[in-house]
Amino acid sequence: MHELAVTQSILTIALENAQKVDAKQITGINLQIGQMASLVDDSIQFYWDILSEGTIAIGAKLNIERVPIEMRCFDCGNLFSPSPDTFDCPKCNSIRVQVIQGDEMRVISIDVE
């Protein structure tokens, strides 16, 4: 639901960085977004097409790398992706676990000409 604000921020970051190198055109944006970040790719693309119009980022390809949720068990050290309705360690059933990735929201790089 908050993709409009997020997409606006992506565009701002891309334009600022492109300006630093006097780029004429932004051709690609490389993003890293965690599964837990509650962002929908199609929705970002939808807002991107509207917001980038009239800027040097128009037509840039959005490459979204989805980072899966990964957890680590404190008791047995197991690394696992949790099932949707429980977060227990699938190996030893411990609930002493920690989220180690999955809520990233980053602009990694941009491709410019």
Partner: protein, 227 residues
């Protein structure tokens, strides 16, 4: 030929920067700020108004109400005697740092110890947008169901305290407290939680005492830092 430029920047970093500025404004006024998040209907406004009674004579409290539209919540808070201001987001599903910064002009911070910012009712978006608060508090109400930590892990993972509201309804609705608490413990180990009913008053005093202590500790650390 295209060239790749490394950026490695958090998407919402510009909001984060403004949130830092807002927090500095609270700090220099000596006002503690709490961001309250919950789904619509969890009882945020009722909790805040009841909190005013419990804090009477101990902390001077003001409130910033966030909603898509209307001033119903700010009107309720003002009627209860709270200095209150309303932010209408006009469709945005969350408050952001710029909105809170603007709302600060409508509160006399010099007369307050505590500002409660009631975020837009939503368990998804508000958590990503820092607004300059010192503590993020989530309210989970019993009738919402015991599976919410599993369905909205981001909300439970990124808060500093949890209020479990409407516990007077426990005899009437299916709610497995152990299953609920297990999800919370996994996502946010050791999270402080306050089961309470704003309607009957059960548990309100414990939560209010915790808050008073938290604000006083913060204030004494703040004055040490300023010396």
């Amino acid at each position: 030929m295209s060239t790749r430029i490394e950026v490695a920047e958090k998407i919402l970093s510009s909001n984060d920067k403004i949130a830092d500025e807002v927090r500095k404004k609270f700090d220099s006024a000596g006002v503690y700020a709490i961001n309250i998040m919950a789904s619509p209907g969890a009882g945020k406004t009722t909790f805040i108004i009841k909190l005013l009674d419990s804090l009477h004579g101990r902390l001077r409290m003001g409130v910033i109400e966030g909603d898509l539209a209307s001033s119903i919540d700010a009107d309720k808070a003002a009627a209860a005697g709270l200095p209150a201001t309303q932010i209408n987001t006009g469709g945005e599903c969350h408050l952001d740092a710029v909105m809170v910064d603007g709302a600060l002009q409508n509160l006399s911070l010099e007369h307050l110890d505590l500002v409660i910012i009631e975020n837009v009712g939503n368990l998804v978006c508000p958590i990503n947008f820092k607004i300059g608060s010192h503590t993020n508090l989530l309210i989970a109400s019993i009738p919402e169901g015991d599976d919410k930590p599993y369905k909205y892990p981001g909300a439970y993972r990124n808060v500093d305290a949890l209020v479990i509201s409407k516990i007077d309804l426990l005899p009437y609705v299916p709610f497995d407290m152990d299953y609920f608490r297990k999800g919370v413990e996994i996502l946010n180990p050791g999270l402080e939680s306050f089961p309470l009913s704003a309607k009957t008053g059960e548990g309100m005093e414990i939560c209010a005492n915790w808050l008073v202590k938290k604000v006083k500790n913060w204030k004494s650390n703040l004055s040490v830092e300023n010396i």
